[in-house]
Symmetry: C2
Subunit: 310 residues, 2 copies
Amino acid sequence: MELIQRMLLGEKRACARLITTVENDPEEAEKIIREVQKYTGNAHVIGITGPPGAGKSTLVDKMVKVLADKGNKVGIIAVDPTSPYSGGSILGDRIRMQDLAVNPNVFIRSMGTRGYLGGLSKYTKNALKILDAAGYDYIIIETVGVGQSEVDIVKTADTVVMVMVPGLGDDIQSIKAGIMEIGDIFVINKSDLFGADRTATEINMMLDLSMNMDRRPPVMKVTASKGEGIDSLISEIKSHINFLKTSGNFEKRRSDNMKLEVMDLIESELKKIVISRTANENKLETEVGKILNKEKNMYEVRDEFLKLIG
Amino acid sequence: MELIQRMLLGEKRACARLITTVENDPEEAEKIIREVQKYTGNAHVIGITGPPGAGKSTLVDKMVKVLADKGNKVGIIAVDPTSPYSGGSILGDRIRMQDLAVNPNVFIRSMGTRGYLGGLSKYTKNALKILDAAGYDYIIIETVGVGQSEVDIVKTADTVVMVMVPGLGDDIQSIKAGIMEIGDIFVINKSDLFGADRTATEINMMLDLSMNMDRRPPVMKVTASKGEGIDSLISEIKSHINFLKTSGNFEKRRSDNMKLEVMDLIESELKKIVISRTANENKLETEVGKILNKEKNMYEVRDEFLKLIG
């Protein structure tokens, strides 16, 4: 495909078009990734997550500028859990995109969860592969850590940066609690606000509770809006990837992620088979009616379908 | 099973033990649900969701008191997305449980997402079936609408109540934006706070944007802590179930949910097959290694496994 050749040469527009294709057309996506995958594996993938309002976008912008100024090519995938009801974030990202997009070394893409349902992480991982193949040195995935799907995405990163802020109530902190386990580096953004030290202490205490750590994640104070702490953060990120590589965890992590990805592919093929068998025969409708009428239980129906599928 | 007999007679302790079993032992769960399912389908299931800090627990407590005082049996399943890091909510629920549990017509159960990963909604649906079979008239599922799993749970309700509060910033409101579509009734709790009218207007505007509604969800102002608006909310909930039943949507909704549940069962059996085939032969490890070494792409590996599974 000519588009793939152009993308491999690093042409931004070809990248953008390929990403649009993998987002919208699963069959084309498979064709593209089949060709492209052998060029992947070189980018350092950084996941940035944290609650809404933590200032992730500002942080990412500053990081990208530092990295790009040093001659690195940087890709950004901003995952935006927006529903049809709230267009705000999308608009914000468009404006942001125009700002960053002028830099020839930067590629930014915003992906809404709208309409993707559970499939989001699959699309995002494909977009990631395209940027990787296109020679981006760093790829940053930025997402609000609210849903399983976003957690899955950020887990695919080599380095996961958890962003927090001082003074968010306990209620809100609890949102991200479920994904604290996956943080490789903890950042307290807006550290010029009151309470930053206390938040740092709390995070350190949480980390102390955690067992079996072959590496203790650093907790860093940053004020992204003023550009404070960005350089240190970037050197921590680099030092994390060095740790992974020297400890042998790098291969393990990528292998574990790839296993999950392959299992997902297998499962989604099997799912297609289930859907086609059940849909074609309209048997599901009838059988579910029998469950609701108390003639059968759902396990009996499941077993019948499993026999049918063979 | 003797325990099932006692549960069917409405014994709370038997209920609690069966729910613990379906939570912890998938094989026993299947046996129990196979026996119990024919007694289900009578409860009115109410889902309560909204962002952290919206006062859902207080609202539920007040609703339960009103319903129970009128002689209804009420079950509550509180889904708590808590990680090992934050024990706060669990403790809160324990205290709450002691308070409500003295009422013989009320059963309350807190289910943490800890350790359940994606399986939460399955366990919750099983707990629901047990309460339904035990003769609870109303079953309230209360959850923070943050993850796909919690969205799945609340979707299984006959009536979904979305709880919001005035004055939560846009950032935080966006969390729940993804699940606004599933609200049958919108409640603005803490309506004595400044900004309640504005929030009501905003929600109404969002609802105006939505197409294809055969029923426009009401937007209600409630102050749960003072008990204001609870009676009206309950009559709206009853009027919603009447709407479902007279419009034929009731059967459709239950049938659609049951279809998803059966599909999930089929898929999780298929998943087990995939895992056992791939794990036994240790082939996955080797094949993933070939992907990472760029000898193969992931679709080639998927196709080999699909052949293997047959």
